[in-house]
Structure formats: C-alpha cells, structure tokens
C-alpha cells in the first residue's frame, strides 16, 4: 500500500519536474531578454536572474529611432497582408479541394504540400529574379509575395482538412436555400471555420513576422526593412560594441504582439487544433 503510494508520488513529482524543465527551456530565453532589456547599460554584464531595477532607457533609445518605427510599420503591413491574402486564397482553395470532386484533386494537394518542402535558400535566387522582374525589389510587395508563397501550403492544408469535416448536408441545405458557392462559403462555412482560420491566420502571421532571410535579401534601404532585419542591424557606437540593451528591448517589443495575439486566440487555437467540432 505504501509502496504504491510512494510510486504515485514519485510519478507525480517526475511529471511536474519534466513540465518545469520544458517551461524553463521554452520561457527562459525570453525571460532573460526582458531582464536584460530593463538594465541600464552599466549593469549589462552582471549576471542576475531577477528584475532588480526598472530602467526603461533601452526602450526609449529603440523607440526614438525612426528606422525602427518604420520597421515595425513595415512588419505590420507585411504580416497583415500576408494573413489576409493567405486566408482568402486558402479558404477558396480549400473549398475547391475539400468540397468539389474533380480528377487530380489528390495530385494538387500533393503538389501544394511539395511546394512547402523546398528550403528557402533553394528558391532564393530564383525568387530574387522574379521579384526584380515584377519590380517589387525593396518594397513590402516583394515580401508579401514571397511570404504568401510559403504560408499558402499549410493554410490550404489545414483549411482543407477542416472543410472536409463539415457535413455535406449543410452545403446541400444551403444549395436548396438558393445560396451560390460564394454565399455558402462566406455565410455558412466561414463562421464555422473561425477556429481553423484563427489558427492558420496566426501561424501565417508569426511566420511572416519572424521571417529573416527573404526580408534581408529583398530589401535594401532602412525604410523598407522589417523588424527582424532591423534588430539584427542595430549597431552600437563603434564597430566593436554590440548594444545588447536596445537589442533586447527591441526583441521584447516585437515579441509582445505575438504573445498578445496568442493569448487572445488561445481558445480558438485549441479548439481549432483539436477538433472540427461543428456538429449541429
């Protein structure tokens, strides 16, 4: 009896220990960034794990740089555009792939999946030519185009999976009621696909918000850069100084919107990832 209890306690402790390790592993870098960003530059290299001074000078430094503010604006524009375009195209594609029976449907799905398997570097030079030809170099348009290419596959896949789970009779009921495919999609399916759309939209937003390689390659001037590149290019007073304080402050500033979004959509995401849950 006691042995069994001991075992239960040991198992429970082990479980929570594991959880603690995972949480520490995931949260610590961000936590340390916050701690560092709140230190005056004189204390930067004293190791401490607690916030023991509230010094906002790093934030003031970062936010007073016009290039950084421009970068945030660019990032917002690019990420939101990518989300909107990806959701619109993804939803309509998912409609076709999930609801309409046609020959080669599986092939199309496979091709879509295949596209997402190319490493970014492999398409970089080709995409660069495309963007030059379309005259989108050094403009948000180029980034929107290239990010959309990479966010569409998973958007289409996730939305198609959800679209397939919606009962056929629902669509037929809409047809009998006289709804066109577009009306069925927007008035009947879209409200039911909200969880899936929130999930995919958020994933697309995060992908676009964090992207670095394309952002670095396809932009030239400070005024067109997005946040990840702008942070990487923050420089100090001399060649030999990395301004860790402002960099950390900038990182915290650009991470906070993501955290806020995730918290807002948390319930949607959970229900979106677990089940279609649309039983009438």
């Amino acid at each position: 009896m006691t042995l069994r209890r001991l075992k239960a306690i040991a198992l429970k402790t082990g479980f929570w220990l594991l959880v603690a390790v995972l949480v520490l592993y995931a949260i610590f870098p961000f936590y340390y960034a916050i701690v560092t960003s709140l230190k005056p530059s004189s204390q930067l290299f004293e190791v401490s794990y607690w916030v023991d001074s509230l010094d906002f000078s790093n934030y003031v430094t970062v936010l007073s740089q016009p290039t950084f503010l421009a970068a945030i604006r660019n990032s917002v524009v690019v990420a939101l555009s990518v989300v909107l375009i990806a959701l619109l195209l993804g939803l309509t594609a998912a409609w076709a792939l999930g609801r309409v029976r046609f020959r080669g449907r599986t092939t199309v799905m496979m091709i879509v999946l295949g596209v997402s398997m190319f490493p970014q570097v492999a398409v970089l030079s080709g995409l660069f030519e495309v963007i030059r030809t379309l005259d989108l170099y050094n403009s948000p348009g180029g980034l929107i185009l290239s990010y959309t290419i990479f966010t569409l596959p998973f958007t289409v896949w996730i939305l198609t999976t959800f679209m397939r789970q919606l009962p056929d009779e629902l669509e037929e009921a809409a047809i009998v009621d006289g709804a066109s495919p577009w009306v069925t999609l927007t008035k009947v399916f879209m409200p039911l696909l909200w969880p899936a759309m929130a999930t995919t939209g958020l994933l697309a937003f995060i992908a676009a918000w964090n992207e670095f390689l394309f952002a670095l390659t396809f932009t030239l001037t400070d005024s067109q850069r997005t946040v990840p590149v702008a942070i990487a290019l923050i420089s100090g007073g001399s060649q030999y100084e990395l301004p860790w304080g402002p960099i950390m402050a900038a990182s915290v500033i650009v991470t906070v919107p993501l955290v806020v979004l995730v918290v807002i959509f948390q319930r949607r995401i959970v229900s979106g990832l677990t089940a279609g849950a649309v039983k009438g």
């Binding site: 009962p167 037929e172 009998v176 009621d177 006289g178 039911l192």
Partner: protein, 374 residues
C-alpha cells in the same frame, strides 16, 4: 395541373446504375412516400428530384416544365434533411430566414413569413435560440420550417424521423400528416420504415435495386402486392411464403398442392399449362390455426404476446418459420401442435420471377395496382 412527372429517369455513378428507368406521375398535393431497403436508390431518387444530383438521362417535369437543368430554388422545392443540417451558428429565426433573404425578399416580407412559419410549427418561443439549444424534435421542426418558409411547390423529406426516439417519432409523424393537410403542398417523403410509409402516404412507391416495384395506395400495396418483393416488404410480421406446385384450372382458378395442408383452390388466373413451381403467400392474420389432437401438423416454437394480439411461430420441416397473428390472449401454448388453414380469397401466388398472379376477372372491377414493369 400535373404536379411532378418522371419519365424514364436514369442515374449512373460511374458504371453503377443507381436509378433504372423510373417513370411516375405525382399529382399536385399528393403525399408520396418512397420506401425500400437500404441501397435501393430511394434517397438518390429524391436528390434527383431536388436537383442535388444530375439526371443521367430521362426527363423530370414540374408543372409541365422540364426542370432537369434548374437549380433547387428554381424548381420550387424545399428539403428536410436527415441530419436536419441546420446552420449551427444562426438562430432559429435566421435559419428560417436564410432562404428568404437570398431570394431578395424585402425585410418586412421576410419577417412576416418567418413569424408565420414559426406560428404554424409552434416555434414562436424559440426564434432567438441557436440550434444547439434545441431538442431533437424542435430541430426537426426548424428544419421543416426552413424548407417551407419559401412556400415551395414541393416539399421533400429525406428520412426525417430516423434521428428521433420512438415516442417522438410517432408524434412528429402525426405533425407531418397534419401539416400536409394544412399546407396542401405536394410532399415526397423517403423512409425505410414501412409504418411511416403506410401511415403517411397517399401513395407509396416501393423501390428495389433502382427500379420501381410498385406504386399504389397503402391498401393496394398491402392487399394486392404486385410482386413477392413488395409482399415481403410491406406488412409486419412478414407475409408467410411457402413453395407450392400450382396448376391452372379453367373453372375455378388454380389448384395448389400445399405441403402439410393439402390441395386448395385459389381464385387466381394462372396462365394455362402444366403444373409449375410457384410461391404461395399468406399474411399472418389470414392463417387459421386449429389445435391438433392427433399429433399432426406443426409445432408452435414460440408465442409472442403483444397485449392487443399475439404471434405464433410454427417451424416447418425445412426449418422455415411460419407466423400467425391471433387474438390475445391466445389459447395456444408453446410446444402445442396445430394444423393450419387459410382463407383462399386472401392468398397470393407468385410465379418463378416473383410476379404476382392476377385475380380471376370478376364482375365488379377492382382498381388494378400500377406495376412498374407493365
């Protein structure tokens, strides 16, 4: 006015023939029930009429207009689905109003129609609720309301009661019958439940493997089944079938030789010729059991007591069971032996192809049940 006409309607999925040359005429205001075993094509036929599936070839006419290529609302149909298929994110009001709004009705008309529909179906109190807050029976009524809000010429029901429990099913069945009385619109109803078919229908269409076995009133189907399939499908407990040898007799009809019963003469017009292998069909209520003193006859292997009546099951030598419906309480006990007889005027004979042998011509003409293959 010609409600709805099907002319040699066919439907194929790939190489599978699902609907095979179905023709019928449905009058305005009729209540028609499609019935048949699962996979017989009854739901497909309904979907062809609705316009949810395309007709491979053949013509579908509504009010003398060919509607093969029209959309469901253009055909003027409303449909109630098996799973109700209510829009889960819309209130009852919006569910009913959806079709009306799409038909570009002005706001006031929509409101009037929705409220009127709700009144007929007693949904007034529930208009603001979401489908998930409704009981099964209420959802069913909303589904009906949505289908009838646009006042379609034809209302289609696809097994609408199969998701309800037994008590609610009887109640909703009654409501649908009363609704038909009240609206007077043509209704086509698909079910696999013969009780629903018998109780609701003006005429029943029995389908089997994609073709029509028989079209007729419930009474015609029960009393004069056109084929062995219909005879076995309609009626519960099922009709008893016994293999017999029959021979035409010019004067009295036909003579049949029945194992364990003896020779009987039936008033049926069997085509002349030598003795032929046929199937005799007798409904359970037309079998007359008599207690056997001498140990002859068949043994009763089971007695089912249902309160208002009782069913006796007798085992034949070849292991097949015969059913007999008697009054309850029944004087017979399990293990008792009985001899059986039947009323020849209520007997049916089916030839080797399963076709019913017609009755001998009499002075008063009986309405001939419409056969599909005739």
């Amino acid at each position: 006015m010609a409600g709805l006409t099907l002319e040699r309607v066919n439907k194929r999925f790939g190489s599978t023939q699902v609907i095979d040359d179905v023709s019928m005429q449905i009058d305005n205001g009729e209540f028609i029930v499609f019935v048949g075993p699962s996979g017989c094509g009854k739901s497909t036929l309904l979907r062809l009429i609705a316009g949810l599936e395309s007709i491979t070839h053949g013509d579908l006419m509504i009010d003398d207009q060919r509607v093969n290529n029209l959309t469901p609302p253009e055909r003027g149909i409303g449909m109630v689905f098996q799973s109700y298929a209510l829009y889960p994110h819309m209130s009852v009001y919006d569910n009913i109003a959806f079709g009306l709004k799409l038909a570009k009705q002005d706001k006031q008309t929509v409101d009037e129609r929705v409220r009127q529909t709700a009144r007929i179906l007693q949904l007034d109190e529930l208009l603001e609720r979401l489908p998930k807050a409704l009981s099964g029976g209420q959802r069913q009524r909303v589904a009906i309301g949505r289908a009838m809000a646009r006042e379609p010429k034809i209302l289609l029901f696809d097994e609408p009661l199969s998701n309800l429990d037994a008590a609610l099913r009887v109640q909703t069945r009654n409501e649908i019958a009363r609704l038909h009385e009240r609206l007077g619109s043509t209704m086509i109803y698909v079910t696999h439940d013969q009780v629903e078919a018998m109780t609701l229908a003006d005429r029943i269409v029995v389908l089997n493997a994609g073709h029509v076995e028989q079209i007729g009133t419930p009474r015609e189907l029960y009393e004069r089944p056109a084929s062995r399939f219909v005879a076995g499908f309609i009626g519960s407990p099922k009709m008893n079938f016994i293999q017999v040898t029959a021979e035409a007799d010019a004067e009295q009809g036909c003579r049949v030789e029945i194992p364990a019963v003896g020779q009987r003469t039936l008033p049926l017009a069997l085509s002349a010729g030598g003795p032929s292998e046929t199937t005799l069909g007798v409904r359970p209520e037309h079998l007359i059991p008599t207690a056997s003193e001498s140990g002859e006859g068949l043994e009763i292997v089971n007695v089912e007591y249902l309160g208002s009546e009782a069913y006796l099951y007798m085992e034949r030598d070849d292991g097949e069971l015969l059913v007999c419906r008697t009054q309850a309480p029944s004087p017979f006990r399990r293990g008792q032996r009985v001899t059986l007889d039947f009323d020849p005027t209520h007997a049916h004979l089916f030839d080797r192809d399963g076709r019913a042998v017609p009755p001998r011509a009499r002075r008063e003409a009986r309405p001939e049940p419409q056969g599909a293959d005739s």
